[in-house]
């Protein structure tokens, strides 16, 4: 493992562990019930989403909340597979953590991003966060009407959909790894009622 790969794992893992520490079992009101660190296959996207769904059914959540979390996960994880950058060894390092609290869920998703794309993503999410729910809905309908599907299969609706489903701000952060890449992470809050 080269020195720069170590740095990739170190930076991503620190974000991952930071979340683990906040929502670990030390806190009796929260628990982490889905956790993943590594490269995501399409199969993993399906399996993790279904695992989360099964867990929520056990937790007694209502159908609407379960569907919204499922929605957020699929959008976020497909985003990672479609857009997540790779390190110099070709690894698409990414991670996911879902914590259950008494009245809400916290979902952490992270991936690598090219530094040259950081501003564009930050601008996109800031724009969503600073808009009212109605304006986000308008953005959604406009993007839908334009109807552009990229070669990779993305439709530009991932973050907009996640914001609409969670009805909360998307808390995001970039942690620099080297001259080329950073770790991008986003925490989404979903109320349970």
């Amino acid at each position: 493992m080269s020195k720069s790969i170590n740095k990739v794992v170190e930076v991503c893992n620190s974000k991952f562990e930071e979340f683990n520490n906040i929502y670990s079992q030390n806190n009796s009101h929260s628990s982490i019930f889905v956790s993943y660190f590594g490269e995501l296959s399409q199969e993993m996207v399906n399996d993790l989403s279904v695992k989360a769904e099964d867990n929520m059914i056990e937790n007694g959540d209502n159908k609407g909340v379960i569907k919204r979390l499922f929605n957020i996960l699929v959008e976020g994880l497909q985003n990672i597979r479609l857009h997540g950058a790779r390190d110099e060894d070709g690894n698409q390092t990414s991670f996911l953590n879902i914590a259950k609290e008494d009245d809400h869920y916290k979902i952490l998703m992270g991936n690598l991003i090219l530094n040259k794309n950081v501003n564009e993503i930050a601008e996109k999410i800031n724009n969503i966060n600073s808009s009212s729910f109605d304006d986000v809905k308008k953005m959604y309908v406009t993007t839908l009407t334009n109807g552009i599907i990229s070669r990779k299969g993305g439709a530009g609706l991932g973050f907009i959909t996640m914001a609409m489903k969670s009805k909360n701000k998307l808390e995001f952060q970039f942690n620099n790894i080297n001259d080329n890449i950073s770790c991008f992470s986003v925490v989404i809050t979903l109320n349970r009622n």
Binding site: Q42, R68, L82, L144, I149, A155
Partner: protein
């Protein structure tokens, strides 16, 4: 003449699709969140194109339980394709949603603001 029916079995993240050429009917039911929506929806687009050569009318009836945003766009494109191939008066779109599922109902409403053809949005009992 060989029949030109379309049958796609339900997959892990793709819906069951049945296209019946004789009666000009396309039914879609299930989840839709494949990673590659173009790959999944292209054969359905082609089927619609083919039957437009022999059929004047088409009825599309669908019920999604969960649909990802890329599929929402891909499905809209399918409906727009149908509008470009058939006379609006000869098209029937039926959008079903499970009782209480506002998210799916709203997608149907979004479609109706974008499309020319009216959409029949129908609530069905929870399974």
């Amino acid at each position: 003449m060989p029949s030109n029916n379309l049958i796609i079995q339900e997959g892990k993240n793709t819906p069951k699709v049945i296209g019946n050429e004789n009666i000009g009917e396309l039914t879609i039911e299930g989840n839709s969140y494949p990673e590659n929506v173009i790959q999944f929806y292209t054969p359905i687009m082609s089927w619609v194109e083919n039957i437009s050569e022999t059929n004047d009318e088409i009825k599309v009836e669908c019920q999604f339980y969960y649909i990802a945003s890329s599929s929402v766009i891909a499905f809209l494109k399918l409906l727009q394709k149908i509008e470009s191939l058939f006379n609006t008066k000869k098209i029937t779109f039926i959008w079903k949603y499970e009782e209480g599922d506002d998210d799916i109902r709203k997608i149907g409403q979004d479609y109706s603001t974008i499309l020319e053809t009216p959409i029949d949005i129908v609530e069905v009992e929870e399974v």
